[in-house]
Symmetry: C2
Subunit: 114 residues, 2 copies
DNA sequence: TCGCTTCCCCTTGTCATGCGAGGGGTCTGG
DNA sequence: CCAGACCCCTCGCATGACAAGGGGAAGCGA
C-alpha cells in the first residue's frame, strides 16, 4: 500500500466489483486485491466499503454467493455474476464512459473564446 | 435538456465549478450553463447542488463572490477563483485524471490470464 | 507451544453531499 | 398582462464511503 491511493467515488464501487467477477468467481478479499492490482495501486477498497456493497449487489440480484475454500485453505464466500449482473455491468461501464468523457471535455475546454 | 443526463459523482461537482471559473468570473446560473455546454449536455447540475456547493467553496476560500449585474441586466452574484482556488483546481484535476485512468485500466483489464 | 502475521468475514455509527421540492424575486417579449 | 426565462436560496431526505471495532482460522518461525 503506497498510501497515495484515492478515495472511491460514489457509484464506481459497484462497477469495479462487477468487473472483477467477469471471468471467474471470487471471494471478497480477492476482489479487493484485484482492484488494487488492476488499478496499479491507485484505488483501494476498504472492507467497510466492500462487504456492504457485496450484500447490496446480492440483494439486487446482480451477484450470487456460495461458501467455499480459498486458495489458502480458508473458508471464504465466493461471488459470481448473474445474467442480470452482466447486463448491469455493461450499462454501468457505458455510463462511466460517458461520464468520464464529459468531464474530460470540460477539463480540456479552452475557455469562452479560443 | 435531453434528459439523458447523468447523476453527478461525489467530488466532481467542485472540480467542474472551479474549472468554469478559470477564465472569468461567472454567476451561478452561468456556471450551470457552462457545465451543460462544456459537457455537451451530458452533465446537468441541479440548483440544489450548485448553490450549496458554491457556498461551501466560498467558506473554504477557493472562490470569492461579489454582487453585480448579469448580461441580461439582472442582479447576480459573481464568483471568481482565489489563488488558493487555482491551486485546488490543479490538484483536483490531477486527482480526477489519476482516478479515471485507474478505472479505465480496470475496465480494460483482460482477465486473470493475459 | 506460543504468538504473530496473513487471510477472511462482518457490523455499527458518522459524515459528507447530491438532489428534489419548495420559495422568492425580476426582467422581457408577445 | 402574463408566460417564460433568468437568478437566488434553503430544507430534508437518502445514499453510501469509510473508520473503527469485532471475530475466527490457518500457517509459520522462534
Amino acid at each position: 500500500m503506497t498510501d497515495d491511493s484515492l478515495n472511491l467515488l460514489r457509484g464506481t464501487v459497484d462497477l469495479l466489483i462487477l468487473k472483477s467477477l467477469t471471468w471467474e468467481a471470487r471471494h471478497g478479499y480477492a476482489i479487493s486485491q484485484w482492484i488494487d492490482t488492476a488499478t496499479e495501486g491507485t484505488l483501494l477498497m476498504e472492507e467497510g466499503t466492500l462487504y456492504p456493497a457485496l450484500h447490496r449487489l446480492d440483494r439486487k440480484g446482480w451477484i450470487e454467493s456460495e461458501w467455499g475454500l480459498s486458495a489458502n485453505n480458508r473458508r471464504a464466500k465466493f461471488y459470481q455474476l448473474t445474467a442480470a449482473g452482466r447486463g448491469r455491468l455493461d450499462s454501468e461501464a457505458t455510463s462511466w464512459q460517458r461520464y468520464s468523457d464529459a468531464v474530460a471535455k470540460a477539463l480540456a475546454n479552452g475557455g469562452p473564446r479560443p
